[in-house]
C-alpha cells in the first residue's frame, strides 16, 4: 500500500471511531456535579446582604 492510501485509511478510521470514543466520555456536567470534592472546590457561597429586603425586617 503506498503512503497516500495508508494515510487516507488512518484518517478515515479516526473519523469513524472518534464519535464513538467521544460518546463514551462522560459529559462535563456529570463529571463535576457528581464529584463532591470538585463541587466543594468550585462552590462560591452567595453574597447575601442580610439587610431587610422583601420579608421580615
Amino acid at each position: 500500500m503506498n503512503r497516500t492510501a495508508f494515510l487516507c485509511s488512518v484518517v478515515l478510521t479516526a473519523l469513524l471511531v472518534l464519535p464513538a470514543v467521544l460518546q463514551g466520555q462522560e459529559s462535563g456536567c456529570i463529571s463535576c456535579h457528581t464529584d463532591e470534592a470538585r463541587i466543594q472546590e468550585l462552590f462560591v457561597p452567595p453574597d447575601i446582604d442580610f439587610k431587610a429586603d422583601e420579608g421580615e425586617g
Partner: protein, 346 residues
C-alpha cells in the same frame, strides 16, 4: 450549601429525565471541562418555563401555567383594589414582575431543587431525583414566615393537631389544588380544590352533645377557625417595597371581608399607605380594602379557650376587633370588620 449542587450518580441511569443529557433542559456546553465554559448559556432553572416539563407532562403543565403558585396572581389581586387605573398599570410594569412574582414556584422548585428566596436555596432535594413531595424543604421554605412554623410548632407554642397526627401540607392541599384545574383564579379562596374542614370532619360526627349543639348554633355565622385556631399566629405589618416589614403575634376575630355574614379569624396584612411609595404608587384607593383578611391560622386545636367556655366570646369578647384596637393609620374599611358578639348569661 455546596451539597445542593451535588447530583447522585445513581439516579442518572435509572431516571428517564436524564436520557437526553443535561443540556436538554439546562443548555450550557456539556463538552466543556471548565466551569465558565460549561456554564455559557446555562439555564439554571429550566422549569421556570413550564413548557419545558410540558414536553412530556403536557396536561399538568397546561394546568399549572394557570395555577396560583405559578402565576402568583393572588399577590397582585390582593392589593390592586387599592390602586387607581394608572397605579395598576405602573404596578404591573414596575413592581409585580420585579418583586412579587419572584415568589412564583416553578415545577423544579417543588420536585427537583428547593425554591430560591433571594440568593438562598436549599439545593437539590435528593441528588437531582424528581421527587413527588418534600414539604419541609419546599412548602416550608416559602411559607416559613407564617403558616409552616405555626403548623409545626416552631414558634415554641403548641403544634397544629393535624401535624401531631402525622399529616403534612399535601394531606390537605392536594396535588390537584397545587397543579390547578386549568382555570385562572384571582385568589386562593376561589380555588375549587382548596381544603375544607368538612371533608374530613362532616357535621353529625361530633363526639359530644355539647360540640354538636355548638356547631349547629354557629354553623352559619362562624368559621371553624373562629373557635379552633389557637390564639397565637403571626401578623405582618408595615411592609415597604425593598425594605421588608415587621411581624408580631396576634389574634383577631371579626367579620370576614369576603363574606361579612361570617365571623372568622383575621390576619393583619403588611400593606401600609406608603408601601409602594418608592415606586411612585400612593395607593389612591387605599381605604377601599381593609388591613385584615380572613385567614386560616395553621395552628388548629380541638380544644381552645373558646371551645371550653362560651363566655370567652360572649362576655370577655376575647380577640374581637373593636374600633380602639384597629391598627393606627389603617384603612377606613377596617371599621366594617368590627363585630360585637351577643352577650349571654354566664
Amino acid at each position: 450549601m455546596y451539597k445542593g449542587y451535588l447530583v447522585d450518580r445513581a439516579v442518572l441511569d435509572l431516571n428517564t429525565h436524564f436520557a437526553e443529557g443535561c443540556a436538554f433542559c439546562h443548555k450550557g456546553d456539556e463538552n466543556a471541562r471548565e466551569r465558565e465554559a460549561a456554564h455559557q448559556g446555562l439555564v439554571p432553572r429550566p422549569s421556570d418555563d413550564a413548557r419545558i416539563c410540558g414536553q412530556c407532562h403536557d396536561d399538568i403543565a397546561d394546568r399549572y401555567e394557570k395555577a396560583l403558585h405559578y402565576t402568583t396572581a393572588g399577590l397582585k389581586n390582593g392589593v390592586k383594589g387599592r390602586f387607581s387605573k394608572a397605579e395598576t398599570d405602573r404596578f404591573d410594569a414596575r413592581v409585580f414582575e420585579a418583586s412579587c412574582r419572584r415568589c412564583h414556584a416553578s415545577c423544579g422548585d417543588c420536585h427537583v431543587k428547593g425554591p430560591r428566596l433571594g440568593k438562598v436555596c436549599t439545593g437539590l432535594l435528593q441528588g437531582h431525583r424528581f421527587v413527588r413531595k418534600d414539604e419541609a424543604r419546599t412548602c416550608g421554605f416559602c411559607h416559613g414566615g407564617r403558616v409552616y412554623p405555626e403548623f409545626t410548632g416552631q414558634y415554641g407554642v403548641v403544634k397544629d393537631a393535624h401535624f401531631e397526627k402525622g399529616m403534612m401540607c399535601l394531606d390537605c392541599h392536594s396535588r390537584k389544588e397545587m397543579h390547578g384545574d386549568g382555570n385562572r383564579t384571582a385568589s386562593r379562596k376561589e380555588v375549587a380544590e382548596r381544603p375544607r374542614c368538612e371533608t374530613c370532619h362532616p357535621a353529625g360526627q361530633e363526639k359530644t352533645e355539647k360540640a354538636k349543639k355548638a356547631h349547629e348554633t354557629h354553623r352559619k355565622t362562624l368559621s371553624c377557625t373562629a373557635c379552633h385556631a389557637l390564639s397565637t399566629y403571626k401578623n405582618c405589618s408595615n411592609c415597604h417595597l425593598g425594605k421588608g416589614g415587621q411581624s408580631k403575634i396576634g389574634f383577631y376575630l371579626g367579620r370576614s371581608p369576603r363574606d361579612p355574614g361570617i365571623v372568622t379569624t383575621l390576619r393583619l396584612v403588611p400593606t401600609v399607605r406608603n408601601t409602594f411609595a418608592s415606586a411612585g404608587i400612593a395607593m389612591e384607593r387605599y381605604d377601599a380594602l381593609p388591613n385584615y383578611w380572613d385567614t386560616v391560622p395553621h395552628v388548629i386545636r380541638k380544644v381552645t379557650e373558646r371551645t371550653t367556655n362560651c363566655t370567652m366570646c360572649h362576655l370577655v369578647k376575647m380577640g374581637f376587633l373593636t374600633p380602639s384596637k384597629l391598627i393606627e393609620g389603617g384603612s377606613e374599611a377596617n371599621e366594617d370588620l368590627v363585630y360585637t358578639p351577643k352577650p349571654i348569661r354566664p
